[in-house]
Symmetry: C2
Subunit: 104 residues, 2 copies
């Protein structure tokens, strides 16, 4: 299982464009068999600062995600409106519903 929290900072004035672009990716990703969680979240203090809590069954599922049209189209649309490089924080699952086996 692969879990990551992706930080996305959008340039001021481009929030709506970002949400339109991300909506395609969100709707498509939730139909992927290898995806378990894909939550788009926002910082209560900064409406242009987003986090995506992502959980995929395994590396192959994440690779398949990155090969999809909805992911590629989203990246194409949001890259020009990023305020900074996206960053990622990785996690290991310990007790996660839907995890193949808890590693408690």
């Amino acid at each position: 299982m692969l879990i990551q929290l992706v930080q996305i900072k959008v340039q001021p004035g481009h929030r709506d464009a970002f949400l339109r672009a991300f909506r395609l990716n969100w709707e498509g990703t939730r139909t992927e068999p290898g995806n378990i969680r894909f939550d788009l979240l926002c910082d209560p203090e900064d409406e242009n600062s987003f986090s995506v809590y992502e959980m995929f069954r395994d590396e192959a599922a994440l690779d398949a995600h990155r090969a999809t049209e909805h992911f590629r189209k989203c990246i194409e649309l949001i890259d020009p409106i990023m305020a900074e490089r996206r960053s990622k924080r990785f996690f290991l699952p310990v007790m996660v519903e839907g995890a193949a086996a808890d590693r408690g």
Copy 2:
């Protein structure tokens, strides 16, 4: 909807005791009607550094959670083995499956 990422740092040598205590809380919390996500995660670089990705329907659901025996018992058991104060990061839901209404 209330979303938070709780950071928990356990004193070295107490990981198993922490997991035993948290297991009670995890199993109980997932039966609470107001709980949507309760993922216990670990830092790949530090086996004593945990994060809990928590999502509750609303403030009342989180209050109900804090009043449960499984939560109180867990806190009682883990407080003495914390390496530092627990910290929390809050999020707003933008596109979350299970959210009453997407605020895209």
